[in-house]
Subunit: 175 residues, 2 copies
DNA sequence: AGACGAATGGTACAAACGTACCAGACTTTG
DNA sequence: CAAAGTCTGGTACGTTTGTACCATTCGTCT
């Protein structure tokens, strides 16, 4: 955590609250008041640390992306069971949070200032695959398919078991 | 078009206005007033035809999905140049609309009543690929990768030319 | 033609919103 | 320890929101 100046604690508490509100209420539920209440701080704190709502959302995405990237980068064994477990955890154990992450990423489509965060996410995924697959073009396709699989799992819930995820991954890797 | 009872015209005008507002303002911009103004009808019409905002959004997704599905199903030649042109049109010629579609689809993640619409979208894409690829497991992977590619193009803008899209598709199909 | 339900559009209102302000309490710096 | 800065939290204001209401007009049946 390093030497957090006092205010930094509140600042990140607010950013993490954004994701939780997003989980619960969706994009339209993210208001100064809702986020402040979720973080357990007075309304004025939300306006003090972030110039406006946009700033709050942009900062939340930046933080959330970094956390997600760290999660992927920190995954030691990039093998099929390991990835399957990660995917399972993300889409089933923590589904709402994963949806919130993607909703934040969608914000990036509208704002050029968020483009770097989106790029970082994609590059991380591709680099991770590249670590295991020699052919870079094949790695790119695999990364695309895994991303598609992740979304599909969020949408339809399928595949729903760790075993079937592994089967899907094996299908993808046969390229 | 069929025999549209008078009110049906306004109803669908409102639903199409939802997508346009979504394009312009994002999810938080979709209000009764904004949609009514976009459709050129008085505010009361929006509350008359749709019980509440949720109903309006849900109905808009259902209509938009059907349109998108018809677009894909109506694509005659399911070959690489044809798909590349479709992808190019969707992500570059009509980027805002495509983003709006996905934003609506994200709503489906939160509402069980929208699950059928999301399922329909996926099944359509898979069926279309199945038409050309014999192995169903391979077809599924290809559909996932194409979906991932579509999203990636919306996010990062790459690949940006019709030729590079074709190249990506060839990479995907080499499975 | 008359009747009756559907559709229209103007208006009203309480609630929630983004944002601004400010007096007081802490922290840091010299 | 005093001064300068940062942080706190309560309050206020003008706007916009979802939704309700209602008198009127239109379309469709008997």
């Amino acid at each position: 955590m390093a030497i957090t100046r006092k205010g930094e604690v509140r600042r990140t508490a607010l950013l993490e609250a954004v994701v939780r509100v997003l989980e619960r209420e969706g994009p339209t539920g993210v208001t100064h008041r809702a986020v402040a209440a979720e973080a357990g701080v007075p309304l004025a704190a939300a306006t003090y640390y972030f110039a406006n709502l946009d700033d709050l959302l942009v900062s939340a995405l930046t933080l959330a992306t970094q956390q997600q990237v760290a999660l992927i980068a920190g995954l030691g064994a990039w093998d099929i069971p390991g990835v399957a477990r990660l995917l399972f955890d993300v889409t089933h154990g923590n589904r709402a949070a994963a949806i919130a992450q993607y909703e934040l990423l969608f914000l990036a489509m509208r704002r050029d200032s968020l483009r770097p965060a989106a790029d970082l996410w994609y590059r991380t995924l591709e680099d991770a695959v590249n670590q295991r697959v020699s052919d870079p073009r094949a790695a790119r396709v695999i990364a695309l398919a895994i991303d598609g699989l992740l979304l599909r799992m969020l949408w339809t819930g399928e595949p729903s078991t760790q075993e079937s995820i592994e089967a899907s991954l094996r299908d993808i890797l046969r390229a």
